[in-house]
């Protein structure tokens, strides 16, 4: 520890602390532009000059480390004069267009000038003009005149995102923020640069000229676009969402959010939004009142429940309270255990034991990712991995069916979907016996695991054989005095919350086993397709697009005599429904969600729901009432939350947690390659902006939305006679999709990578319930030239 004096006050801080941080301990704010606590000091802007006794010249507080007995003055006349000078230079060519600047009101240049700056400029020459509307890419517009070249944005792209695409180009007074050849700045984290920009240079396209900061209302919310659960603030005006803003939770998001989370809210105002309940009359969905919809649904669900022929799918989009309400509705009102939140490939949302925390990634020596494509499925978790690898020298090993593009160096181990269990078994026994054997990489990896002090494994929760083997591996590692833990990346934002609240056929709230387990999603869909169910109730899930066996899902939705769907948007699934409930979004209600590490976080209501839109809790309570069960459910989140907590306490479940029930389709089998290349194995590839719900309808995400692709290896493309960009038709078990082909050397031989969850080209036409499938590939006829 080091003791020093700042403005006459004594403070003791750890050795190596920067003067600017030491001052914060005393509540003294030293102005900064280029300095950002999450990044290395740069010493570019000079606004943080302070006087340090015994040093003749003023020093920058952002890059000077404290020493014993240091005497610092942050408010002396010398400092004030220097600050005034620095500000005069920074403002020399600044356009002073604060009245039309998005940053006005929350701008450090504005604020510090008011506090420390000169009142007027002494420049009599004309100001230097620079481009004012540089389109930097899908999310950002850059105003070069406002830029003070603090390089926070380029350093963010370098140090935090590890992408290094946003750079300073040119030099001296011609310097600009730019990209290679003026191309797009494309990053999943681009929005963060608009927040850390201390001036109005980087402006968000979604928020440009929409509101002034002092007019905004704020609600502390939690992002539900993926299972990381980043904390953010929702800023509103006149009951509409204007923007979202980070709300740092060091244990979860570290002060950053991804662009999918940041920009997904304008879908609320799109025409696909269900703004009123719909009832199918004469084959068409027509608008109805909530009480009509409740009455019809109550009658049909009641009759089906009485016959024991009813199923409920959903929970991962709901709050913890509503997931609890949904399972309670199924179990207490419909008297069935046929409830399941799993409408995708994921089979479980939590490790049964040895759960890790997100912060465990920060100081891990070895990060083992298998199956989950972290940049696409959990971007902020990926940001932690990037930092651990780039800044702390962690080793990253990715095990998966194809080699992904990651921002940091990693070792890749290829496995076919069915074989990952074997690999995990081999690793577990290799480490347990201390004599690794098998394939060279297994031996090498076993040794690396034995050598590492701290290990974090990230899994996608699809392969239970692998998960069980992984738990044995972690148990062995812990037995050897190592720190090791597991994170499971959820498929829906609140998958873990839904699992914990009891939206699985064999477990009630708090993982309490139920006596008579019901059907899984696959089994419900099979039963519905075979005419063995009279009614399905789907809440916040879209199996028509996301269930691996799309043929089965669509047949089930078509066949079931009565289908009720509750959703925010008219999804692929909702279009099959007999009744559609208009459900409130997360922004229009309050409650809790549970992130992938099991952290339960509260979110506040930001806006009012449209008049005919109701929260799922209200819809479920309304249905219970309409079915004559007036004492079972209330729509009050506090009541539901207290009941959920009571149920969890009563269950008192300890680790290892019981597993959600699996069905026969659970384990994908290792498949032999088709040496003849008559058929290709399909590998679905997740993409951050793919999906059928909010992602498909949000205009803010439009420029980032991926195009569906079929990616082949070079050899296979040659064999098929297809060039890059050629349109091909992939025909599988439930139909076909027609997409452009791409050639990428990283594709495994005999396989085709297909973008997952694309509404125009659903990969689930090609897969079975285990998520595997084979296709034949036909290049489309060369299109004839159309002449006018």
């Amino acid at each position: 520890m080091v003791k020093l004096l700042i403005d006459g006050q004594e403070v003791t801080v750890p050795d190596g602390t920067l003067v600017v941080e030491a001052a914060k301990e005393l509540g003294t704010q030293i102005p900064v532009y280029c300095y950002h606590p999450k990044m290395d000091p740069a010493g570019l802007c000079r606004i943080c000059l302070v006087e340090i006794e015994k040093i003749p010249k003023l020093q920058i507080a952002c890059a000077t480390r404290v020493t014993e007995g240091m005497v610092v003055h942050t408010m002396s006349p010398k400092v004030a004069e220097a600050r005034r000078g620095v500000l005069e230079f920074l403002l020399l060519n600044h356009p002073l267009d604060c009245p039309i600047c998005d940053k006005g009101g929350e701008c450090d240049l504005q604020d510090f000038t008011m506090e420390y700056g000169p009142g007027a400029s002494r420049l009599t020459e004309p100001k230097l003009h620079k481009p004012k509307r540089v389109d930097l890419g899908p999310t950002i517009v850059l105003d070069e005149e406002r830029c003070i070249l603090c390089r926070r944005c380029t350093r963010f792209d370098d140090e935090i995102a590890q992408e290094r695409n946003l750079v300073v180009v040119e030099r001296g007074h011609s310097s600009l923020i730019g990209t290679v050849d003026g191309g797009d700045y494309e990053s999943y984290f681009s929005g963060n640069t608009t927040e850390i920009c201390p001036v109005g240079a980087l402006t968000s396209k979604a928020y440009r000229f929409r509101a002034r900061p002092w007019d905004l209302g704020h609600a502390d919310s939690v992002c539900t676009q993926c299972s990381v659960g980043c904390n953010y603030r929702v800023d509103t005006r006149f009951g509409k969402i204007m923007r979202t803003f980070t709300r740092e939770n060091p244990a979860v998001d570290g002060g950053w959010i991804c662009d999918r989370g940041r920009y997904t809210f304008n879908y609320l105002y799109e025409s696909a939004r269900v703004r009123q309940p719909l009832i199918r009359r004469d084959r068409e969905l027509e608008r109805a009142t909530l009480s009509e919809a409740l009455a019809v649904t109550a009658e049909k669900l009641g009759a089906a429940a009485a016959a024991g022929r009813v199923g409920v799918i959903g929970g991962g989009r709901l709050s913890d309270e509503e997931a609890f309400a949904l399972q309670r509705f199924a179990r207490e009102v419909l008297r069935t255990n046929n409830i399941d939140h799993r409408a995708r490939l994921q089979k479980y949302a939590s490790p049964a034991r040895f759960g890790a925390r997100l912060t465990d990634i920060d100081d891990a020596d070895l990060i083992l990712v298998f199956g989950a494509v972290t940049p696409e499925q959990a971007p902020i978790l990926d940001l932690r991995i990037r930092r651990a690898v780039a800044r702390h020298g962690a080793r990253l090993v990715f095990v998966g069916p194809f080699k992904p593009e990651l921002a940091v160096p990693f070792d890749y181990v290829e496995y076919t979907t069915g074989a990952i269990g074997d690999l995990m078994e081999a690793l577990a026994s290799g480490v347990a016996r201390g004599v690794p054997d098998g394939a060279p990489f297994v031996a090498e990896l076993s040794k690396a695991l034995s050598d590492a002090g701290k290990i974090v494994a990230v899994h996608n929760g699809r392969n239970v054989v692998a998960a069980t083997a992984l738990e044995r591996l972690v148990e062995t590692l812990r037995g050897n005095d190592k720190s090791a833990g597991i994170l499971v990346v959820g498929s829906q934002g609140n998958a873990r919350g839904a699992e914990a609240a009891g939206c699985v056929p064999n477990l009630g709230p708090g993982y309490a086993p139920v006596s008579n387990p019901g059907l899984t999603t696959t089994e419900m869909l099979q039963a519905a397709a075979a005419g063995k169910l009279d009614a399905l109730f789907i809440v916040g899930a879209n199996p028509a697009l996301t269930f691996p066996d799309g043929g089965l899902a669509r047949k089930a939705l078509e066949t079931v005599p009565f289908l009720a769907v509750s959703d925010q948007l008219l999804t692929e699934t909702a279009s099959f429904a007999d009744v559609v409930f208009a459900a409130a979004s997360q922004f229009e209600k309050r409650g809790h969600v549970t992130n992938l590490e099991g952290r339960r976080q509260a979110f506040a209501q930001a806006i009012e729901a449209p008049v005919h839109v109701a929260a799922d809790a209200a819809i479920l309570a309304g249905l219970a009432n309409a079915m004559g069960r007036i004492d079972v459910l209330f729509d009050d989140p506090d009541w539901l939350f207290s009941r959920l907590e009571m149920a969890e306490q009563a269950a008192g479940t300890k680790e290892p947690l019981p597993r959600p029930k699996l069905d026969s389709a659970a384990a994908p089998q290792a498949e032999a390659l088709d040496a003849q290349r008559k058929t290709f194995a399909v590998i679905p590839v997740p993409k951050l902006y793919a999906g059928g719900g909010a992602a498909a309808h949000d205009p803010g995400l439009e420029p980032m939305r991926p195009q569906p692709r079929a990616i082949f290896s070079e050899d296979d493309a040659l064999l098929l006679g297809i060039a890059d960009g050629r349109i091909v038709t992939l025909a599988g078990r439930n139909g076909s999709i027609t997409v452009p082909a791409r050639i990428d050397a990283r594709t495994p031989a005999g396989s085709v990578l297909v973008t997952a969850d694309m509404p125009d080209a659903p990969v689930n036409r090609l897969l079975d319930a285990s998520g595997t499938g084979r296709v034949t590939v036909t290049p489309a006829e060369a299109r004839r030239e159309v002449t006018a």
Binding site: E163, R171, V180, D181
Partner: protein, 164 residues
């Protein structure tokens, strides 16, 4: 990346302890071949030495001897810093621009001349200084420039890059 380019790149990398040290020589080599630093050259360079194309752009745009678009064969750079200004550089600059019919950072229509005003060329003792490709000319007056121009009409231009 063409095989020749790759071979040259690897040869350059072998000269230095760090692969990234080969970046500028490699860009110079590409510029010699293509006439300027193309987007493809920046991508190739990044791939070769292990940086992103953005980082290559940042470096390529920093140096006045690396060009991001096609320029004339005769590259004329006149100092615009203090010492040269005091010794008549301003007059020289306007004379050259009028004579060649091009402005700062422009290339003549016939593709022969490129003109640029640059910061200090470190020849203050014999200001004003003019750099023609890699050659310095000192104490340049408008009349002296006319003579230079005449000489360039017959002489083939010097290479824009230092020879090996």
């Amino acid at each position: 990346m063409t095989p020749e380019r790759l071979a040259r790149g690897q040869e350059l990398i072998a000269r230095y302890p760090q692969p990234q040290s080969a970046l500028i020589p490699f860009l110079q080599y590409c510029q010699e071949q293509d006439g300027y630093v193309t987007l493809q050259a920046m991508k190739d360079a990044g791939e070769l030495v292990g940086v992103t194309p953005g980082e290559v752009e940042s470096i390529a745009s920093f140096y006045t001897l690396l060009f991001k678009e096609r320029v004339g064969k005769h590259i004329i750079q006149v100092c615009r810093t203090l010492s040269c200004s005091l010794r008549g550089a301003d007059e020289l600059q306007s004379y050259i621009k009028r004579k060649l019919g091009i402005g700062h950072l422009e290339t003549s229509a016939d593709g022969r001349f490129y003109y640029e005003e640059v910061e200090c060329l470190a020849a203050c003792d014999r200001a004003p200084c003019l750099q023609h490709n890699l050659e310095f000319h000192y104490d340049v007056t408008p009349a002296a420039f006319d003579q230079l121009l005449e000489a360039w009409q017959t002489q083939p231009p010097q290479p824009a890059m230092p020879a090996e």
